[in-house]
Amino acid sequence: MNKKTFAAFVGPSVFMMFIFIALPLVSVFFESFKITQPIVEQQEVETCTPGFIGQTCVTEVKTVPVLDENGKTVTQTEWVGLQSYRNVLQLDKVGDAISSGNWGDILQIDFWKALRFTLMFTLLTLPLVLVVGLSLALAVNNAVRAVRGPVIFISLLPFIITPVIGSLAIYWLFVGDGILTSLLERWTQTNISMFAQAWTIELLMYFFRVWNNAPFAFVIFYAGLQTVNMDTLESAVIDGASRWERLRHVIIPHLMPLIIFISIIHLMDVYRVFEEIVGFRSQAHVISLQWLTYDFLVPDDAGNRAISRASASAMLTMIGIVILLIWPLRRTWLDHKGGAH
């Protein structure tokens, strides 16, 4: 295929990705160094309230936005350098926390709170999803042929359900005196409210993520198990390998490429953890990096969106995922080079 035909085939797709992915990234990069604010001016305003004898008039200086002839606020954009990053990172508070020795105070700042949760969540759900997925695949592989189809059908449900709806479904089971909360209460004889403190919410979020993502790992592992070399397995049996040893030395090495594949996809998907926070309404206790940007972008009560702070936090989020993916991508690159020569 020559260059021209290749360009014709790939062109539309590359064009769309350029317009709607590459350009927005450049825009975010520049926006994060700028700040757009309404121009305000100081005005003396006299307000009078009717009193008993005469009017009581108060003159005060107010800050009001300047309006243009259409009645819209006039805004000005200026370059502020790293100011937005400073607003998001709040390094001075971090410095205070470190110098005073109260390390926990760092986690009171939104960004660091979100970073802590996002990273911990991404890295801790990974082994959970892999283990649950692999055990499911092994169990289904052992099961009678007739039940495999229905089990796969049921397993796919948590995977394809809208994440917001899935987290809401779990929320409704536990909210207030939902049936599972009251079951736990009867069991432990204590009063439990699952959505009042951070750690119980986080626990439910881990549960939700494994519920939601394990089917994906399961289906892939299950397909991988069908291609395990039976001869190798049988010779392992003849050599006296126990079931565990066969799993450890034959099956897992065979599945290794799949484990790496699932891990990369998992890192990408869980790093953007967001829907749980909407579904569980946990913003007061637990937030993630993607939710932080979302929150800046949602108009506040006055209808203003904090675009520059959102851009700064978006840039920081992006740097995070790039760092997380450097190692797997380097590996793909080395594989490609190895394959080419």
């Binding site: 769309m16 990234l25 089990v151 397993s155 394809i160 359900i161 851009s311 840039m315 993916l325």
Partner: protein, 385 residues
């Protein structure tokens, strides 16, 4: 294939593994099953703290909404025949009536018509017939199981959820058609070109795939809100404000979906032997003719699978649609968030549950019809590496 004797398992292991499967199936299906049950009960039953009360619904029953034994028996019989019909006659009818080559479309129409007929028979015709019968039968006709569809009526009728449904359908249909059109071309090009450029494009797409969507939306928002002023020098007075436009959201979702689409379609096209189009090329076809006449007839399994995943992306999206669309043309998933703000009474909460179940129902149908394609799609990218 019989299992070799040495690989046979002890009873204990079999029990443990099957027990684990049963437990998983319960955990996987329970939340979805439970919200479906909740959505049919009156608020006090739905949020009752004993599971039995939620299942049986004494308060709902006391309000006169419920099913009698006759209702349950007739309902189960109708359900049985409806399901049997769906698995025996429906596929035949779809094959018979859909135009050749458009079997997918036939299935979509068939499934939609079937769902509509099912709802009509079950929720309109049956109650009409069974109402008089129940009143004649006396004790047998007394309701024993509380059940009410009032929340669905409120959600779809008063709250005009069908508007959100139509918006969702518009957005997802747009996303699926455009991403498949653009994606198949690119996927084919990438699969047949072994150049370094193709490799780098794929790696770049992988990086784009990793970007959290909020990063991109932060890039769109300032431009979309002010687009009328920015585009004025080019388009004059006709320049649109992109914010709140469904087609702008479609373009955004298609682009966000492109990296995934081209990776997946590329792996499908790699499975089609390249001798096929080379033969066509030898016979004097250009690349595009070879694509149209030789590849297009055999690419449908891969395209359907990729289309399913594009559908899921468009349908399930919350972040992009909630930030880029305004209240007038909101899709279903962000519209549910609107219930949070009003969720003051328990009735509102159960209505939110009913809306959530309404959103899930099409996905349930989708897995039923396309289970095989979804599984093959999940494994296609992975097993081939």
């Amino acid at each position: 294939m019989s299992t070799p004797k040495a690989l046979q398992q002890s009873t204990g292991l079999k029990l443990a593994s099957n027990g684990f499967l049963v437990l998983w199936c319960l955990v996987a299906a329970f939340p979805i099953f439970w919200i479906t049950v909740m959505s049919f009960k009156s608020p006090r039953d739905a949020f009752a703290d004993s599971p039995w009360a939620v299942l049986v619904g004494p308060v709902t029953r006391a309000q006169g909404n419920g099913l009698s034994i006759i209702d349950i028996i007739v309902g189960l019989v109708v359900l049985f025949f409806a399901l049997r019909w769906a698995f025996t006659r429906l596929p035949k009818m779809v094959v018979q009536y859909s135009p050749p080559g458009l079997i997918v479309l036939g299935w979509l129409v068939g499934a939609a018509v079937y769902a509509l007929a099912f709802i009509l028979v079950f929720f309109v015709a049956l109650p009409l017939v069974l109402g008089p019968i129940n009143s004649i039968l006396g004790p047998l006709g007394e309701p024993v199981l509380g059940l009410t569809t009032q929340h669905y009526e409120a959600v779809w009728g008063e709250n005009e959820f069908y508007r959100n449904f139509l918006n969702s359908m518009l957005v997802t249909a747009g996303v699926v058609t455009i991403s498949l059109t653009v994606g198949t071309l690119a996927g084919y090009g990438l699969a047949r070109s072994g150049s370094d450029l193709a490799f780098w494009l794929l790696i770049l797409a992988l990086i784009f795939r990793a970007l959290p969507h909020s990063v991109l939306v932060a890039g769109y928002l300032p431009w979309f809100i002010n687009s009328a002023e920015i585009l004025r020098p080019i388009f004059g007075e006709l320049s649109p404000t992109l914010y709140g436009q469904p087609w702008a959201v479609i373009a955004v979702l298609v682009s966000i979906n492109q990296p995934f689409t081209i990776w997946m379609l590329r792996s499908f096209f790699q499975n089609i032997p390249s001798e096929l189009d080379e033969a066509a090329r030898v016979d004097g076809c250009s690349h595009f003719q070879a694509f149209r006449r030789v590849i297009m007839p055999v690419m449908w399994p891969g395209v359907i699978t990729t289309g399913l995943f594009s559908f899921l992306l468009g349908y399930n999206d919350f972040l992009v649609t909630s930030l880029l669309l305004d209240a007038q043309n909101q899709t279903m998933v962000p519209a549910i968030a609107g219930y949070f703000n009003r969720e003051t009474t328990t009735t509102d909460q159960v209505e939110a549950v009913a809306a959530a179940v309404s959103i899930t129902a099409p996905l349930f149908l989708l897995v039923m019809v396309f289970q095989r394609q979804i599984v093959s799609g999940l494994t296609a990218g992975a097993v081939k590496g």
